[in-house]
């Protein structure tokens, strides 16, 4: 498998805080790659670097787009979707005053075929493009079972459904690489299982590479091919889920051991 995305020596500094420190990893085409780590480790910051919401202080990100190898760090934020990278957000960033369908159709923006004048006059081309976009959005709705909510305003939907709508909106861009920021946070057991199945389907049926940030270790072990553990902006461990979960450094920083509790017991006594 070849490398789809490769980050080299990424660092980003916000004022005095070094949020990400010399992080390097690569995501192979077709795999599910997960970032884990405690809060504040810099995982979402890495995502924001890839989406070009932030600019790295040092380091580069290379991406294998359909036009060849591109230096992602040179691209502006609005070009990222056109290159085939889509993302979801940790705190849902949906378009609140629009319907679910509307949100999904906005996801189709990069596949736009009409110019301003064609839109204003709603020519035959515009109509055909609209119907095609509608069909594609419908495919995503089928994939995620959102039929029931198609015409509901996002503002009135429960949290679990919103997470799925955000996933759907990202899928509508027909990406090569999908960035999922904590897909199961706030979801109950059933919804998390659904999410796991969807991630597997996205990888196997749709052939999309998934890069995700996750805290739920069961979900991580179930769907990931490789895991990267981060702590305080630095790389701690990289490998298969099994390897990373048994890595002593990761256990100490993030997963926790039985030893920690016995320390407390001794102190209390």
């Amino acid at each position: 498998m070849d490398s789809l995305l490769s980050a080299q020596n990424l660092s980003v500094r916000f004022g005095g805080v070094l949020a990400v420190n010399n992080v390097s990893f690569d995501v192979k085409r077709g795999e599910v790659f997960t970032l884990i780590g405690p809060n504040g480790a810099g995982k979402t910051t890495v995502f924001n670097l890839i989406s070009r919401i932030y600019t790295p202080t040092t380091g580069t990100i290379d991406y294998q787009s359909s036009q060849g190898m591109l230096r992602l760090t040179d691209q502006p934020a609005h070009k990222i979707a056109g290159l085939g990278i889509a993302r979801t957000f940790q705190n849902i960033e949906l378009f609140e005053h629009a319907t679910v369908l509307h949100n999904l159709l906005i996801g189709r923006h990069t596949h736009r075929q009409t110019s301003l004048w064609q839109d204003m006059l709603f020519t035959g081309t515009a109509r055909a493009a609209e119907l095609k976009a509608r069909e594609k959005a419908e495919e995503v709705i089928d994939f995620l079972d959102l039929q029931h909510h198609r015409d509901s305003l996002v503002a009135g939907l429960p949290y679990g459904v919103r997470k799925v709508v955000e996933l759907g909106r990202a899928l509508c861009t027909e990406p090569q690489l999908l960035l999922l920021d904590e897909p199961s946070s706030g979801l109950n057991v059933e919804e998390t299982e659904d999410m796991a199945f969807w991630i597997q389907d996205i990888q196997q049926e749709l052939g999309i590479t998934v890069l995700m940030v996750e805290h739920d270790m069961t979900l991580v072990s179930k769907v990931s091919n490789r895991v990267l553990a981060m702590n305080q902006g630095e790389v701690l461990a990289l490998g298969s889920p099994r390897e990373v979960q048994t890595h002593p450094g990761v256990i100490e920083a993030y997963l926790g051991t039985i030893d920690d509790v016995s320390n407390l017991r001794r102190e209390a006594a």
Binding site: T44, N48, I53, F89, Q90, N91, E93
Partner: protein, 291 residues
């Protein structure tokens, strides 16, 4: 000498802009809403002072204190009646509401038979007093404006930085729900902020009255205070005053040195330049959503 004279008169005018801008910034800092009614509140404060002095025939200092107290109360009541129900609505709606309040206040004042439609002068004790410092002529009115502004600013700065009240105000503006959880009485606090802003507006009105006379359209000066607040950075109290001073001085100088028409638009040209160079004003904060 002419230059210095112009600068001083600019500073004094700028202090007025700064005081009104201070009112905006107070409300914005505490509740993150922009109030377009400050100008009209200032006008109301001036009329209050006029009423107490000419109709109730009380001396100047009583009138000042009475106006400030009355306006503070009015501000609290206004907040309770009209602003509180709409908190949480998009910023634009709140702005339109305050514009509506301005319209109502202006209309009500012009309705008062006889007084409302006329221009009055406020009989202040230091009226027409002037000092000569060498070749400079310093108007007592201008000096009083500058002095009072300085005192008021110091007091407000201390309030926000050192008192629990000030910190509570800042907390409730940044995250209202969290402030509720922390036991901060958010609603009365908002009322207090509006009361404070109205009191500041009353002071501005009383200070401005000797210079521009008291009339129902005084409030339009409030529109020039917006560029002042923006130049200083919306959300910074010292910024409001600094912004006001800059606008006042630029206006004064351009009225003399530049051709006709620049005096009125000077404030707006300054603010546009500032927004191009430093979008968040001189002391403003970065506005960016963290995702």
């Amino acid at each position: 000498m002419q230059f210095l004279q112009l600068v001083i008169s600019g500073i004094s005018q700028g202090c007025i802009y700064g005081l009104i801008a201070l009112g905006f910034v107070l409300i914005y800092k505490a509740t993150e809403t922009v109030s377009f009614a400050q100008g009209e509140l200032m006008m109301l404060g001036a009329f209050c002072g006029l009423g107490v002095m000419t109709f109730l025939e009380y001396p100047f200092w009583v009138a000042v204190l009475a106006s400030i107290a009355a306006m503070a109360l009015f501000g609290i009541l206004l907040e309770r009646a009209v602003i509180r129900p709409i908190l949480g609505q998009p910023a634009f709606s709140i702005v339109m509401l305050t514009i509506g309040i301005g319209y109502v206040l202006r209309g009500l004042v012009t309705t008062i038979p006889g007084i409302g439609t006329e221009t009055h002068s406020l009989p202040v004790p230091y009226k027409d007093m002037a000092f000569n410092l060498g070749a400079l002529t310093l108007n007592a009115e201008q000096l009083v404006v500058i002095g009072s502004t300085a005192v008021l600013c110091g007091a407000l700065f201390a309030l926000f930085k050192y008192s629990k009240l000030g910190i509570a105000m800042q907390a409730s503006s940044q995250n209202q729900l969290a402030a509720y959880y922390m036991g901060i009485p958010v609603k009365p606090l908002n009322g207090l902020v509006w009361g404070l802003a109205s009191a500041v507006a009353a002071v501005a009105g009383l200070l401005l009255a000797p210079i521009t006379f008291v009339h129902a359209n005084m409030g339009f000066i409030g529109l020039k205070a917006f560029p002042a607040a923006v130049v200083g950075g919306f959300g910074s109290l010292p910024g409001a005053i600094v912004g006001g001073l800059i606008i006042g001085v630029v206006e004064s100088l351009s009225g003399f040195y530049l051709p006709d028409g620049f005096k009125d638009t000077a404030a707006y040209i300054v603010v546009l330049v500032m927004l191009m160079v430093q979008p968040n004003g001189l002391f403003g904060e970065r506005l960016r959503k963290k995702v």
